[in-house]
Amino acid sequence: MTGTEIAILWAAAIATLSVYSILYRENPVSRLFEHIFVGLAAGYLLVATWTQNLQAKWWAPMVVEGRWYWVFAPVIGLLFYFIYSRRLSWMARLAMGVFFGTAAGVYFREFFPLYSPQVWASFKPLRPIFDAAAPPVSVSLAWWNAVIQNWLFVAVLLTVMSYFFFSVAHEGRGGRALGRSALLGRWFLMIAFGAMFGNTVMARLSLFIGRVQFLLYDWVGHYWPWLAGRGT
């Protein structure tokens, strides 16, 4: 390892330990490294946008290939800064309007292909029929599996939807039935949230394990080869 690489290794180790020091209590060192991380990310974004996008797609066509009209592109972008002028802020709204309009257009375009297949997929056959040309290995087992899954799917879908149906009071015969369905829907939602929380724990642990691996294998392992060897 070169001197620069060792310095980077130490910087990464110190940054990791400093950020984790918040587990003990709120402290300025942890905050400092948090801000450094955000600053580095912003700086990286700026450089990457220039080197991998603007240089090839804006600067080179304008300066090298002589397409001078690209000079107007940043002028439009700079209109955003008129937001700071009370008199000329209408110019910023022009640029924002274009952005909002484009975003709305893209979203409209995305919406139907994104959600319609899920609406179709929610119509499950409660009595499934397998393709006669390619039946599963165990027809009866696969059939019962599909039946249970589809009935459960429909039950969860309807009860959860009833939970979000607020237009009818849970009184009277029909209202009480809706109330019971909504209660069941709430239980299904809680089970789903529990599964999501379990996944969140798994994700956070993975991040922690990744950092511990770095500290043990790379940082301490650099000085104690036995440790580095455990990671290979």
């Binding site: 587990l23 003990y24 209590r25 709120e26 990310a41 990286y44 974004l45 990457a48 946008t49 080197t51 991998q52 996008n53 240089q55 090839a56 797609k57 484009t102 893209v106 375009r109 995305e110 919406f111 139907f112 292909p113 994104l114 297949p117 899920q118 179709w120 997929a121 789903a192 599964a195 999501m196 996944n199 969140t200 724990v201 798994m202 994700a203 956070r204 642990l205 993975s206 991040l207 922690f208 394990i209 990744g210 950092r211 511990v212 691996q213 043990l216 294998y217 440790l227 455990r230 990671g231």
Partner: protein
């Protein structure tokens, strides 16, 4: 979970009653963190692995890679950075390995955040050495492309023009891997590796749905549950869930790597957390019972 005083959570109904069970709810959080760190370090140094069984979602992704026709590319959209690297790094490595293993040519691309292009490039270059794969022929990196949905919409018409230059600043048209690639329909499979919500919606809404390009994904475990409906509807061919998904893919292609290395620590840490949950709840219920009875 914990307040600044160091006790873990609120005291609950039974705390005022005192006693051993009430104290179970007031274990200082430092002990919990230290115990968790100890278990993780123990398992990193002396792993006792749990068996890894590939799930249907992981199999789906592997089969989707396998099914990419000859002459078409796999596009790996590495939309992640160092904040999720522990999960998305092994996932990217597993997908890259699977591509090399099944002799599928692939390209990397990053829509957001920009650091993904560099981190994914490091991973792919390392693995490419093992397979003696050549950059520009067997794989390439289109780099970070600014503009997210605009980039995707432009790729529908003309991929080389939209991408312009690769990660190293070289025009992509000059790369042999780009021969025959004109529009997005020349891509056989898109694999989105991300910890960002919203990227999948763009890929499906603008590319998978309207253009019919198969789509698969690798998500951080936090966001994965939200995307199961897309699997059910067939919009996503397969999915890796967190580091576990990476480990499953590694076991499928018989190449243990970064994912497997995380899993034993992950599993034992889960065992510890389950114990904490049992002990905490037991303490709560029994302390409440004591309080009610007297």
């Amino acid at each position: 979970m914990a307040d600044q005083s160091g006790s873990s959570g609120q005291m609950g109904a039974g705390a005022s009653a005192g006693g051993f069970w009430a104290r179970l709810q007031q274990i200082p959080r430092y002990y919990i963190y230290l115990l968790l760190a100890a278990v993780v370090i123990w398992q990193i140094l002396f792993p006792i692995p749990f068996p890894v069984t590939p799930s249907a979602t992981t199999r789906g992704l592997e089969e989707a890679i396998r099914a990419v026709p000859e002459g078409k590319l796999v596009l790996i959209s590495a939309d992640w950075d160092s904040s999720t690297q522990a999960e998305t790094g092994p996932q990217t490595a597993a997908v890259v390995e699977a591509c090399f293993r099944h002799r599928k040519r692939f390209v990397l691309m990053t829509l957001s955040p920009p650091m993904g292009a560099k981190l994914a490039n490091n991973i792919a270059s390392e693995i490419a050495k093992q397979y003696r794969a050549t950059y520009g022929v067997d794989w390439a990196n289109w780099g970070y492309k600014y503009g997210t949905s605009n980039v995707l919409m432009a790729m529908v018409k003309d991929v080389p023009k939209t991408v312009g230059s690769d990660f190293y600043g070289k025009p992509v048209k000059s790369l042999p891997i780009m021969r025959g690639v004109r529009t997005v329909k020349d891509i056989g499979l898109v694999v989105e590796v991300t910890g960002l919500a919203g990227m999948t919606e763009m890929w499906i809404g603008l590319i998978q749905g309207p253009q019919g390009v198969p789509f698969a994904a690798a998500y951080t475990a936090v966001m994965a549950p939200g995307y199961y409906p897309y699997l059910d509807s067939g919009q996503i061919e397969g999915m890796l869930v967190g580091a576990k998904g990476a480990a499953e893919m590694e076991s499928l292609i018989a190449r243990p790597g970064l994912g497997m290395a995380i899993m034993s620590a992950q599993s034992w840490a889960h065992v510890l957390i389950i114990l904490f949950i049992i002990v905490g709840n037991l303490g709560y219920v029994l302390a409440r019972g004591r309080e009610k009875s007297g």
